[in-house]
């Protein structure tokens, strides 16, 4: 009897209508291609027609040493690529932001722009410019080192297995250090004056003010930067491709998941592309990134303390 008392609420059509454009566009350009990739990875081309093979492609990817060695090598390189970004790019970004936000710094706007400019450059320009800078024949790097008497330190970094990946990671750091800098800079500017003043009244100034007051307040931003770096690095491809080519030489030492996927999907030279194996690799990349983002969302972000002012 009580059930009859509450009047039925009218259907709220407007929610659906307002959501529709975003949902439709996102579905069309993100979800459908993603689903298509996942579907493609479950098929195989057998005598000119697509045949469903279940997880067969993944079994090949992990079970066949011809594929698995390449995959694990690419994943290892990719993890190393990410670690270098985390250890070099983000601390430098935070440091630059802290320096820029110092009120006593002159020409702050100029520095900020100058450091951010490489980020908006094309990969092709960056890859080509650095290839020239580091060229043992016509590059400025050997000449500059010669100038200060350190010529012996120069080696053809991009051509040596043990250095090439580190060199490329640092080039990428050079290019993208502007992004953490900008985000942290914005976070630092949004710290209210009262908090800083209160700290000063308590005698916390200078470096210890940064460590004890500002750093805890910008931790959420650092978290966001970490996750952006993670996603960006595991999707990276362009820099390696422009600087080292699709075979990511020497001896696959700079091969990351992006270049590995490219060779599998589109083929290279006499190698014929295999879209199904390519899709299997793309699916693995998707799962790796999804896993990383989930770890961050559920384990890290929920524990970050936020401060409301």
């Amino acid at each position: 009897m009580a059930a009859q008392t509450r009047p039925k609420r009218p259907v709220r059509w407007h929610i659906g209508i307002f959501l529709a454009p975003a949902v439709l566009v996102y579905t069309a350009i993100m979800i459908l291609p993603l689903a298509g990739t996942l579907q493609l990875s479950l098929f195989r081309n057998v005598s000119e027609s697509q045949v469903f093979v279940g997880l067969g492609n993944f079994r090949t990817l992990f079970g066949d040493p011809n594929w698995s060695v390449g995959f694990w090598n690419a994943l290892r390189n990719n993890v190393w690529f990410f670690i270098i970004h985390m250890l070099v790019q983000n601390p430098i970004g935070v440091m630059l932001a802290a320096l820029l936000s110092s009120p006593r710094l002159r020409f702050a706007a100029f520095y900020r722009t100058a450091i951010f400019v490489p980020t908006i450059l094309s990969f092709v320009i960056v890859g080509f410019a650095w290839k020239l800078i580091l060229s043992p024949l016509w590059g400025v790097a050997p000449h500059l080192l010669d100038f200060v008497g350190l010529k012996s330190l120069f080696t053809p970094w991009l051509g040596k297995e043990q250095y090439a990946l580190i060199a490329l990671s640092l080039i990428s750091v050079w290019q993208f250090v502007g992004i953490p800098m900008m985000l942290i800079y914005a976070a630092l500017l949004s710290i209210p004056e009262e908090v800083i003043e209160a700290a000063e009244c308590d005698g916390i100034t200078g470096l210890s003010q940064f460590w004890k007051i500002k750093l805890p307040l910008i931790l959420p931003s650092i978290g966001i930067i970490s996750i952006l770096t993670f996603v960006g690095n595991f999707n990276a491809f362009d820099l390696i491709y422009t600087a080292q080519g699709a075979l990511a030489g020497p001896n696959y030492s700079t091969d990351i998941l992006g270049t590995f996927l490219y060779r599998a999907f589109f083929g290279f030279q006499l190698q014929v592309g295999d879209p199904n194996m390519g899709a299997a690799i793309a699916t693995m990349m998707f799962l790796i990134i999804l896993g990383g983002v989930c770890v961050y969302l559920f384990l890290v972000q929920t524990r970050l303390r936020r401060y409301q002012f």
Binding site: D64, P65, N66, W67, K131, L134, S135, P136, L137, W138, P142, F154, T155, P156, W157, L158, G159, K160, E161, G245, L247, G249, P250, N251, Y252, R263, F268, Q269, L270, Q271, V272, D274
Partner: protein, 419 residues
């Protein structure tokens, strides 16, 4: 961009097709090609020469961009709008077209007898019974050297390996020139200009290549490892930092006169002639002892086939027979020095460097690159692996034996020749 180009091409062919109907007695043949660079040569030299001899047949050369050619051609063949004559890529890509029924069988075409079996191998079925494209051009490997540098240092052109390394030692000791301009950064230089250049002398050209395909020889055999051992010896003669030296770097080093010897492919001739300010010469890969049979890589690169759906098959065959004739070969080879006609009858060429290259055909035995036919169909891809391993061997990060073993293991994993 691709679609636009494709539409333009399709539109172009349809207009030209109807133009052919308008002049009822004239047949118009369309040529599909990726060699946009050759447009002027076709328009001004080749087609007028053909049309003068064959009134009633008009020919139109309609190239598309190299990177789009295969996809555009595939789409046009499927739609039935492709040209009558199709420029053939070597090996598997054209073989696939033949198997799909897009290319006609040309085994009995008059003029095919002008070509050697090696020349035809790029456009044949695996058993060698059916040929489906007329071979047009090949590129030859060897070494181009700086004649002024050789004269100054009093070096004679080396013919044996000992002389070759003695020459390199002498250039290195003098110090004016980098002995050899080659880098390993782009990987393919090491494989194509290195391994495939000097290799045929070790594995005895076609004998070794065929034995490898039949499974009678392995990449770990002495004849296939030995070229790697020689490559490993090249390392001290390359320029400083050769590990990061790219292909354009190598070209510039040589044309600027800073390096004495350049492991080359004949396609460089055109560029080097315009850029180098010194006299150049060329020599084939040195042999072990004076008087040994020499082998050269005379790699088939371009051919031309007949669209199986062509409405003017007879006219097209007339044209293809002309492509197979010495007339065509002479015009083509002179217009594009470095791209040599595959015709058995000798072609007179004006360019001295090109003459030198082609003269080796007379004294050496020709073969093609070992990895191209059949052996690069699987995963891992033998050609790509050869690039990587050749660079590794020169860099010294892999021993010749280890490199050969890796290649053979990779090949064994998918290639099982019937014995």
């Amino acid at each position: 961009m691709t679609t636009k180009l494709l539409t333009a091409l399709l539109l172009g062919t349809s207009i030209l097709g109807s133009a052919g109907v308008a002049y009822a007695e004239d047949v118009t043949l369309n040529i599909e090609s990726w060699r946009g660079d050759d447009l002027a040569i076709w328009k001004d030299k080749l087609i007028p020469a053909f049309e003068a001899k064959n009134p009633g047949i008009k020919v139109v050369f309609a190239p598309s961009a190299p990177t789009e050619y295969d996809a555009a051609l595939g789409a046009k063949l499927a739609a039935g709008s492709a040209g009558d004559l199709i420029t053939c890529r070597p090996f598997d890509k054209s073989l696939e077209l033949y198997k799909k029924g897009n290319l006609a069988d040309l085994s009995s075409l008059p003029g095919m007898e002008n070509f050697s079996p090696v020349a035809k191998s790029a456009w044949q079925t695996d058993d060698g019974k059916v040929s489906f494209c007329v071979p047009m051009a090949s590129v030859i490997h060897g070494f181009i050297y700086n004649k002024d540098a050789f004269d100054k240092l009093g070096i004679k052109v080396p013919t044996t390996r000992d002389e070759f390394f003695a020459a390199l030692d002498k250039i290195k000791a003098d110090g004016t020139y980098i002995p050899m301009a080659m880098g390993t950064k782009d990987l393919w230089e090491a494989a194509t200009m290195g391994y495939q250049n000097i290799g045929p002398n070790y594995w005895k050209g076609e004998d070794g290549r065929q034995a490898l395909i039949k499974g009678e020889q392995k990449l770990t055999d002495k004849d296939w490892v030995a070229p790697y051992e020689e490559l490993a010896k090249w390392k001290p003669y390359l320029g400083d930092g050769f590990e990061a030296q790219t292909y354009p770097d190598s070209q510039n080093l040589f044309t600027l006169g800073r390096a004495a010897i350049y492991p080359a492919g004949s396609w460089e001739i055109g560029l080097f002639n315009t850029q180098a300010q010194f006299k150049m010469g060329a020599f084939p890969p040195p042999v072990e002892k004076a008087g040994d049979t020499c082998y050269i890589s005379d790699h088939t690169d371009i051919g031309m086939g007949l669209n199986a759906a062509s409405k003017h098959a007879d006219a097209a065959k007339t044209f293809l027979s002309w492509v197979a004739s010495p007339d065509f070969a002479t015009i083509y080879a002179n217009a594009l020095p470095g791209f040599f006609s595959l015709n058995s009858s000798p072609v007179k060429m004006a360019d001295p460097l090109a003459q030198e290259f082609v003269s080796w055909r007379g004294k050496c035995k020709s073969t093609i690159r070992s990895t191209y036919q059949i052996l690069s169909r699987g995963t891992p891809n033998l050609e790509n692996e050869t690039w990587v391993e050749s660079a590794n061997v020169i860099n010294g990060t892999d021993t010749p034996e280890a490199a050969a073993k890796k290649l053979q293991t990779g090949l064994d994993s998918w290639y099982h020749p019937a014995k």
